[in-house]
């Protein structure tokens, strides 16, 4: 495969601690397996773009890697406390100002100042506005600026460019490039071309057969 840099065999045993390694992962949504046998390695300084049709399980995969739901089987290593996750909802409080929203996340993650994040996404002039009065694209920029204040090395992003205009997409691509140059890595599910020098992982071949999860698991799932 062309993107073989990202597909190192899971059994290679040469795991660098900083890599995000996913091996033989099976994930389920609502008790139904969606992706099975998925393996990849994401190294520091690299980005990996996830592709696949709607409903294939990209969001479920990203939530599993972020630790929001357990995998059915398989292993994820190197993700513990190193993930900055951003999904469709930005976690923005409408009654707080842009600065207050961003400062809150900066303090929760105990990372540095918010000024670079404001500048990277051109939010400086909006900083005192209530987040509720921002447009959809501006809110999204605020949600992405949050990634910069987390100080986390692995960005796990689910459709980050929704409602962004071309200028904001370029801003975002620049932010990702800066993050990669700093030694971070990014796992991005997107349908558009970001112009990044990134590997592409099409998850379509890993689609699980539509059998329900192994009996005991499915039974537990109903009660958990």
């Amino acid at each position: 495969m062309a993107e073989c840099a990202f597909f190192r065999a899971a059994q290679s045993g040469m795991r660098v601690v900083m890599d995000l390694t996913v091996s033989d992962l099976t994930i389920a949504r609502g008790g139904v397996p969606v992706l099975a046998g998925l393996s990849f390695v994401l190294e520091p300084g690299h980005a990996l773009i996830l592709r696949g049709p709607n409903g294939i399980g990209k969001t479920t995969l990203l939530r599993t890697i972020a630790g929001l739901q357990p995998p059915v089987s398989g292993q994820i290593t190197g993700a513990q406390d190193r993930i900055a996750y951003a999904a469709h909802a930005d976690g923005i409080k409408p009654t707080l100002s842009v600065v207050e929203n961003l400062r809150f996340w900066a303090r929760v993650f105990g990372a540095g100042g918010i000024q670079p994040a404001l500048e990277a996404f051109d939010l400086t002039t909006l900083s005192e506005r209530a987040a509720g009065s921002l447009s959809a694209g501006q809110k999204r920029r605020l949600g992405l600026a949050r990634l910069l204040v987390t100080g986390r090395p692995i960005w796990v992003l689910d459709e980050p460019t929704v409602s962004l205009d071309t200028r904001a997409v370029a801003m975002f691509a620049d932010a990702v490039r800066a993050h990669l140059a700093w030694g971070g890595s990014a796992l991005i599910a997107t349908h558009i071309d970001l112009g990044l020098e990134a590997g592409v992982l099409d998850v379509t071949p890993f689609k699980a057969s539509l059998a329900p999860a192994a009996g005991a698991n499915a039974f537990d799932e109903a009660f958990l």
Binding site: R63, A66, G67, L68, Q69, P70, D81, I83, A84, Y85, A87, H88, A89, D90, G91, I92, K93, T95, L96, E100, R103, F104, W105, R107, V108, F109, G110, R146, L224
Partner: protein, 218 residues
């Protein structure tokens, strides 16, 4: 942790935060009771401790459905779950923020409303003491209920049905402290029971809330 507490307090006092809603509800309930019962001051003063406790309990219930549901809707809960802060700490802080914005004001206005119900003189101190000891349990138990119903649309009613039975021990001992205090009787035993319930709920329920929340976030 302080950041989360400050954010929740700030959100509560901003527009639409619901601060004061519980207080206004408490006030209205206590004002309505004399209208319903009639102008019999002896009857009023004997039911005052129970009515005040019931009013405070229902007022506490009012703001529970927004405790976690708002964070769930805008995605903050997902982000908090991936943050360095343990979810147990996050739910404890959110319960504390709920107590500061709902429980504490109720404790402070209860003596004023006691006047409306002709609460006997010695009862004021014990009313405040019992509410101060009991309302933390109401917030912590309520947070557990909110965690249980977090993913549900219109979960507010279900939340009330789940939480109200769990409030029964707190209500029994809390109202008993206030009643005995108002009659000038010994209050130590129910007060210790009440404080025990609060301490136990505070020690155990955050773990249950966090576990339930993890399941609901899947």
């Amino acid at each position: 942790m302080i950041a989360l507490l400050l954010r929740d307090l700030r959100l509560a006092v901003r527009a639409g935060g619901g601060f004061g809603l519980g207080l206004a509800f408490f006030l209205i309930v206590t004002v309505l009771v004399p209208f319903a019962v009639g102008p019999q001051s002896a009857l009023l003063s004997s039911i005052a401790p129970g009515v005040l406790w019931l009013g405070a309990l229902l007022a506490c219930l009012l703001s529970l459905d927004r405790l976690l549901a708002l964070d769930w809707e805008d995605g903050s809960l997902d982000l908090l779950a991936t943050a360095p802060l343990p979810l147990e700490a996050a739910v404890t802080i959110k319960a504390l923020a709920h107590w500061i914005t709902t429980g504490l004001p109720l404790v402070l206005v209860a003596p004023v409303l006691g006047v409306l119900l002709n609460l006997p003189g010695p009862g004021y101190l014990w009313l405040v003491v019992s509410l101060a000891a009991g309302t933390p349990a109401l917030s912590v138990i309520g947070t557990f209920g909110a965690a249980l119903t977090v993913g549900l649309k219109r979960g507010g009613l279900l939340l009330s049905l789940l939480v109200l039975p769990l409030y029964v021990p707190t209500l029994i001992f809390g109202a008993e402290v206030a009643r005995r205090g108002a009659l000038g009787m010994e209050t130590l035993t129910p007060l210790l029971m009440l404080a025990g319930i609060s301490a136990g709920a505070l020690a155990l329920l955050p773990f249950a809330s966090a576990a339930v929340l993890r399941v609901n976030l899947r």
